[in-house]
């Protein structure tokens, strides 16, 4: 027998979906009465493959977990390995890591600016911000050789020191971006229609947030001050001065406000890092990767990405290969159960905006 509600396939081939996943929407009118996510379109079995690679080969897979923001994954892996092995990291490497992480955050915010507005039909924003993102990617290219996959932060430090005059170029880019962020505000946050479209839509209130284990900007967007960089500080974040913005609206608008401030905080952090960066070597040499064995043990490390808390659980059985590498992305909780619950009762027009606002990133879910 035919179902009563109409089925709408939102994805996998759909301009409004972020990445490659599917939401099976049951709609009546333009109201969603049930949403079922279906994932697995991007399941590459990384975790299985990493069990078959040695410790350094596994590292090359890390950045491919989630493409919009690749560096937190590398940093997590490096930190987990260091924790199991007890390897020291030079102070300068930690500062460089923070700089790279924050640059990656900034690049990811740029992409989010584009995605959030593109989902609401303001394509100009996407053109601007994704175009400006290229300047950050240029920096990465100079530093690491790759635009997207950097493989820069590795166990024991970072791969190489900063090129000569790199800090200056970073600061110059930051100056430019700061100016552009004001332009974005004019286009996006001063826009009455954007406000109308986002206020009161996609509400994740405090109770829901706790029930679902919500993290990151979504959690801050409902008024809970939570940031791994402060709560569980890693690298040199405890030495830096920055604000964790929060907002009380619990809707897309307040999440956008949070992210808007976070982008500026990232710029501030990078400036601080460049000011206070010590000298010295940038890595502790690792042994021959083919024979590199880690002691038996496990580690769970966490970092703050744009989407929220990312955790990595690494188990070593004392061999040359990891026993288990298990990533927990922020999208893993946002993209499935939370999305399904939030979408009920919303308008079809807002599905894409809600997905972007929750930071759904399918490759991170499916790994």
């Amino acid at each position: 027998m035919r179902e009563k509600a109409t089925t709408l396939y939102f994805g996998p081939q759909h301009p409004g979906i972020t990445g490659n996943m599917m939401i099976r929407l049951k709609v009546e009118g333009d109201t969603i009465i049930k949403a079922t996510t279906e994932v697995g379109y991007l399941h590459r079995a990384f975790e299985k493959l990493q069990e078959k690679r040695n410790w350094l080969q596994s590292f090359t897979m890390m950045c491919r977990f989630c493409v919009p923001e690749t560096d937190p994954m590398e940093e997590l892996y490096a930190r987990a390995v260091e924790e199991i092995e007890g390897r020291e990291v030079p102070e300068r490497a930690k500062y460089i890591r923070v700089m790279v992480l924050e640059l990656a955050r900034l690049a990811s915010f740029m992409l989010w600016y584009g995605g959030q507005n593109g989902s609401l039909g303001l394509y100009t924003m996407g053109q601007w911000s994704v175009g400006d993102r290229n300047y950050i990617l240029d920096l990465f290219e100079e530093l690491t050789g790759g635009r997207i996959y950097h493989m820069y932060i590795w166990p024991g430090g970072v791969r190489r020191d900063l090129p000569k005059g790199f800090e200056g170029r970073v600061l110059k880019t930051l100056d430019y971006l700061e100016k552009r962020l004001d332009d974005y505000d004019d286009l996006m946050f001063d826009n009455a229609i954007f406000k109308k479209r986002t206020q009161g839509v996609g509400i994740v209130d405090k109770a829901t947030a706790v029930e679902h284990g919500v993290v990151g900007a979504v959690l801050r967007g409902c008024g809970i001050k939570s940031d791994i960089r402060i709560d569980d500080p890693y690298e040199v974040y405890d030495k830096l001065d920055f604000i964790v913005p929060t907002s009380d609206g619990a809707d897309i608008w307040s999440r956008a406000l949070v992210r808007r401030q976070e982008a500026r905080q990232s710029i501030r952090i990078i400036r601080q890092v460049i000011d206070t960066m010590p000298g010295g070597s940038v890595y502790n040499k690792i042994p021959n990767p083919q024979k590199w064995k880690l002691p038996k043990g496990d580690a769970y490390v966490r970092a703050e990405s744009v989407r929220g808390e990312v955790g990595l659980y690494v188990v070593s059985d004392g061999g040359t290969m990891p026993r288990r590498v298990h990533l927990r992305g922020a999208a893993y909780v946002h993209g499935i159960t939370l999305l399904e619950d939030v979408l009920v009762g919303e308008n079809i027009a807002d599905v894409s905006a809600i997905m972007n606002s929750l930071g759904t990133c399918p490759p991170e879910i499916e790994r």
């Binding site: 299985k48 029930e211 709560d231 769970y300």
Partner: protein
Amino acid sequence: MKDIKAKLTEKIKASFDTVSEKDYNGNRLDFHVDVKIIPQILTFLKVNLGYIHLSHISCVDWLEEGEFEIIYILWSPVEKLKVFVRTRINREKPVLPNIDMIWRQANTYEREMREMFGIEIEGLEGAEEFLLEDWQEMPPMRRDFQTEEYAEKTFWSREGREDAIDVREEIIKRSREEIPDFAKKYSR
């Protein structure tokens, strides 16, 4: 940090018998518990002790010991402490209690565990298929599943990879040979 850990251990031990703890440097504390009391101890941690954030659920396949190890990682934003609740279950007939009424997102972890390790979760809702589709073999994340063999068996691989003489030339040359007869006229 030491005080917090000691206090927590005391409280847990007072409520549950078969618990052994292991301390680590930094803000991490491990509890080894029996599989039967998993829901109770997690509820206790969440409701009574303020460990409201379920950060991670992971599963490790200890093939040599014939056991799965399940690790629940909780986080308290107040005490700033990571608590690992670890349990081991038999690998032959793995059954795990369902905890998605405590944390909604646990549902996703459990669905993945069910599919990837073949662990039966009692009373779990949600579609059987999560990441895979039409999967016929054993659950792929088990250690005894040989992914490379399976890939060799199922998918073709491009010839011309094993020697590094002139890869480009070689690929072109060999791919020409490999094209079926009827498709020759399209090759360029």
